[in-house]
C-alpha cells in the first residue's frame, strides 16, 4: 500500500475535462442531503440507497410512500425525496397497512432495523405477512440496537458480545437468534422473501436486485428483503474489519439468498 504512493494522484475535485459519462452519482437521486449523521462505515446508508435507487428505477418516485421505523436509519426519514411517514418503534408494518388499504395504487414500503422489526415489532411484520398486505418491508439487520448503543437484539448471533450480553450471547441465557426472513417465508401471505447484505460491492448489487424484485412482487402480496448491514460502532469493531466480521459471524446464521418467490419459483 506504500508503493502506489509514488504514482501521481489523479485530481478528483472536479469532473473530468475530456468526454466522459457519469455512470454513478455520489448522491442518489432521491436522497436530498449528503451529510447524514450515521457513523463511519455504517452499512445502513448503502441499503437505503439501494431502496431509493430501486424506487426511482421502477418509476415509483411519484407513487411511493416509505414508512420508517425508529433506529439509526430514522436519520434518513427527513432526508429523502420520497414521501415518508415516520412510524413509532416497531409499528411500521401496520402503518404501511393503513396506507395501502386506503390507497392500493401507492407503493408502500417500510425501512426498519432488526431491533425495530424483530424485537419490538415482530408481531406486526408477521401479521402483515400473514395478511398478505401489499407492502414491502426492508429490514436493516445489524444484530444490535445501533441507535441506543449496541445492545443485543433478537437477531444477534450466538457468542456475540454486546453492551448487555457482556460475556457474549449464550443460548442458555439469551436464547437463539431469530432468522426473520426464514420465518416470514413460511407464511402464506408472503410472496417474495430474500436476504441480502452490503458487506461487499458485489453483495450491494445483488441486494439491489432483490429490492427491485420485492417492489415488483408487492403487487401480489407481502414482500420482505432483509439486508445485513455493518455496525462498527455497535459491534466495537474497526470499520476496516467490520465487513469481515459480518461475514464471519452474522452472515453465517443469517444466510443470504432468495427464500421465497412465488412469482419466479424458489431459487437461491
Amino acid at each position: 500500500m506504500n508503493e502506489p504512493r509514488f504514482l501521481p494522484v489523479v485530481p478528483t475535485d472536479h469532473p473530468p475535462a475530456c468526454a466522459a459519462s457519469l455512470v454513478h452519482d455520489f448522491t442518489p437521486e432521491l436522497i436530498s442531503v449528503g451529510a447524514h449523521q450515521l457513523c463511519p462505515g455504517c452499512g445502513e446508508p448503502m441499503a437505503i440507497r439501494a431502496v431509493a435507487e430501486a424506487v426511482a428505477e421502477l418509476g415509483l418516485t411519484r407513487s411511493c410512500i416509505a414508512v420508517f421505523g425508529i433506529g439509526c436509519s430514522t436519520a434518513f426519514s427527513n432526508n429523502l425525496d420520497i414521501e415518508v411517514v415516520q412510524a413509532l418503534h416497531g409499528r411500521a408494518p401496520s402503518v404501511a397497512t393503513g396506507i395501502t388499504r386506503m390507497r392500493p395504487d401507492v407503493t408502500a414500503l417500510t425501512v426498519q432495523g432488526d431491533g425495530d422489526m424483530v424485537n419490538e415489532g415482530l408481531q406486526e411484520v408477521l401479521h402483515a405477512a400473514a395478511r398478505g398486505e401489499r407492502i414491502t418491508c426492508f429490514m436493516l439487520n445489524n444484530g444490535v440496537f445501533g441507535e441506543t448503543g449496541g445492545q443485543m437484539t433478537a437477531t444477534t448471533v450466538l457468542g456475540q458480545r454486546t453492551k448487555n450480553s457482556p460475556e457474549g450471547r449464550d443460548a442458555r441465557h439469551h436464547g437463539h437468534p431469530i432468522r426473520l426472513a426464514d420465518l416470514v417465508a413460511t407464511l402464506d401471505g408472503a410472496v417474495y422473501v430474500a436476504r441480502g447484505a452490503v458487506d461487499t460491492a458485489v453483495n450491494v448489487q445483488r441486494t439491489k436486485r432483490m429490492v427491485l424484485k420485492a417492489l415488483q412482487a408487492q403487487k401480489r402480496g407481502f414482500a420482505l428483503v432483509e439486508v445485513l448491514t455493518m455496525c462498527p460502532t455497535g459491534w466495537a469493531v474497526d470499520t476496516t474489519r467490520s465487513a469481515r466480521y459480518m461475514a464471519d459471524h452474522h452472515a453465517r446464521i443469517h444466510s443470504m439468498g432468495v427464500l421465497k418467490d412465488t412469482g419466479g419459483g424458489r431459487s437461491r
Binding site: 502506489p4 489523479v10 478528483t12 475535485d13
Partner: protein, 77 residues
C-alpha cells in the same frame, strides 16, 4: 491508461476505508497527511480506475461520482 475517473467529495468522507477494500484495481488510497474539516482521512485516486462503481456501491457517505471515459477518448489516453 484509465477507463474512468472519480469526483471525490472529500468533505463528506468519514474515513471508513470501505472503498479502499472494495476497489478491484486497488487504486484508492487513504491520505496519511491530510484530514477534512471533520478530521477524517479520505481516499485519493491513483491512475487505473476501471469505472466499476464498486466504490460508490460501498461508500456509506455518498462520496463518489464515477465517470467512464468515452471509448474514443479512451484511446487517446
Amino acid at each position: 491508461m484509465s477507463a474512468g475517473t472519480l469526483v471525490i467529495d472529500t468533505e463528506a468522507c468519514k474515513g471508513c476505508e470501505l472503498c479502499v477494500d472494495a476497489c478491484p484495481p486497488a487504486v484508492l488510497v487513504m491520505t496519511t497527511d491530510r484530514v477534512n474539516a471533520r478530521g477524517y482521512r479520505h481516499p485519493e485516486l491513483l491512475p487505473g480506475c476501471i469505472a466499476c462503481k464498486a466504490c460508490t456501491a460501498i461508500c456509506p457517505d455518498f462520496v463518489f461520482q464515477v465517470y467512464r471515459y468515452h471509448p474514443s477518448e479512451e484511446d487517446t489516453r
